[in-house]
């Protein structure tokens, strides 16, 4: 298991797909928002928490298609499925690796990007907390989506289509928490919901994902 985690992290670093790229995408997306909605700073400040959450979500989404598809193509998944470690565990580890390479950097970088969008001062802390609690759910849902579409050549867009609706509750609670935080309200309820959601995803989705994967390998 640890070997798998280390390998995935090393690959992420080496293939240039890791830490940097998700972040860069997040950055560019945040920069594009003022270009598209116009530069008024109050408007930007209002939409900032939401846009940052949306950007994080999309950055996660875009890195999903390499999560399992590469292993599928070069035959590693076949071998993993017949290896002595349980497939559920392997998938959970892959989710963890994805979170470390994508979710965690986003959490760390979000405050810096908040500055670009005039995020109100009270919002920074809660933005980070909400992302920290929410991104694990995004990664695990992503593993499930990737397992569903792994057999499909370049299922990238289909993967997005399947995964985005599943992301809705996470996004709503997360963005709501960040927004309430930025507006000086109490974000406890949505944060609790978000935590519950993440825990539920981590506990249950590996099983669904491994079932889907086995069907796909067949």
């Amino acid at each position: 298991m640890i070997a798998l985690l280390l390998r995935d992290l090393r690959l992420a670093l080496r293939a240039g797909g890791g830490f940097g790229l998700g972040l860069a995408f997040f950055l560019i997306l945040t920069v594009l928002v003022p270009f598209s909605v116009g530069p008024q700073s109050t408007l930007l400040g209002t939409i900032a928490p939401g846009i940052l959450w949306l950007g994080a979500l999309l950055a996660c989404l875009l890195s999903l298609d390499r999560l399992l598809a590469l292993d599928f193509e070069d035959g590693s998944l076949d071998v993993l499925a017949t290896a002595p470690i349980p497939l559920e565990g392997a998938l959970a580890v892959k989710g963890l690796a994805h979170w470390i390479t994508t979710g965690l950097p986003l959490v760390v970088a979000a405050p810096a990007l908040g500055v670009l969008l005039n995020l109100p001062g009270a919002g920074y802390g809660w933005l980070v907390v909400s992302l920290l609690l929410g991104t694990p759910a995004l990664s695990m849902i992503g593993v499930f989506g990737a397992a569903l579409t792994v057999g499909i050549k370049r299922g990238g867009l289909l993967l997005s289509l399947l995964v985005l609706p599943l992301y809705v509750p996470t996004l709503i609670f997360g963005a709501e928490a960040a927004r309430r935080g930025a507006a000086g309200l109490d974000p406890a309820t949505p944060l609790l919901m978000l935590t519950g959601l993440s825990l539920g995803c981590i506990a249950l989705l590996p099983f669904a994902a491994s079932a889907a994967l086995r069907m796909n390998l067949r």
Partner: protein
């Protein structure tokens, strides 16, 4: 322990490809599968490896004992040869990869990224993976594709050593490997084109 396959029906794309396959593989023995293109060798091997369920029949003694070497090699292009092997070794609970490297003369290439190898070098690294699994039953699908004569000899040597150590192997191949092994021709087991029994779409016929 013996691998025992009885009265197996395997399917691809919902259509039965082979029916009534019965075979027995004792420790220390190798079995060569033969059959024209499209006979169902790959399908049979995947079924024995547990990657797809059989339509009928039983497979005994395969679970957690097989190492499957498919058409694809399972190498990561961005990891070096030794990193690739070490990863699989750790997944299977092994730690020493020097024997595997030596068996396929991979030492000079050990620090090269797998993506920069030539077709035959890649294949050699893929075959070396089998040695680090320490699994007793090897299932090999056209293992010598792209290999030159030296490498084929290395492979034959590795299989012989594996058999001598009490392992066993099933190999699907079109060319002669010079191995001492029984041959099983799959042609007689070919499912009739209108075979319906057990097919996943049986109910629709």
């Amino acid at each position: 322990m013996t691998l025992l396959v009885q009265n197996l029906t395997v399917a691809r794309g919902g259509v039965p490809v082979l029916t009534g396959v019965t075979l027995r593989l004792d420790a220390g023995k190798a079995l060569i599968l033969r059959g024209p293109n499209g006979a169902g060798k790959t399908t049979l091997l995947r079924t024995i490896a547990g990657l797809q369920p059989p339509l009928r029949g039983t497979i005994d003694g395969a679970e957690d004992r097989v190492a499957y070497g498919a058409h694809a090699d399972g190498l990561k292009a961005m990891l070096s040869v030794s990193e690739n092997l070490r990863f699989w070794a750790r997944v299977y609970g092994e730690h020493d990869i020097t024997a595997a490297l030596a068996a396929y003369a991979l030492e000079p290439l050990r620090d090269r990224l797998a993506g920069t190898l030539s077709a035959g070098q890649k294949r050699r690294a893929g075959l070396a993976r089998l040695m680090v699994t320490q699994r007793p039953v090897w299932l090999l699908d056209e293992p010598t594709v792209s290999l030159d004569t030296d490498a084929v000899a290395m492979f034959a040597g590795a299989v012989d050593a594996h058999l001598a150590g009490g392992g066993s192997a099933i190999l699907a191949t079109h060319i002669d490997l010079g191995l001492q092994a029984e041959t099983l021709d799959l042609t007689p087991y070919r499912a009739a084109p209108d075979a319906r029994h057990g097919a996943s779409d049986e109910a629709f016929l």
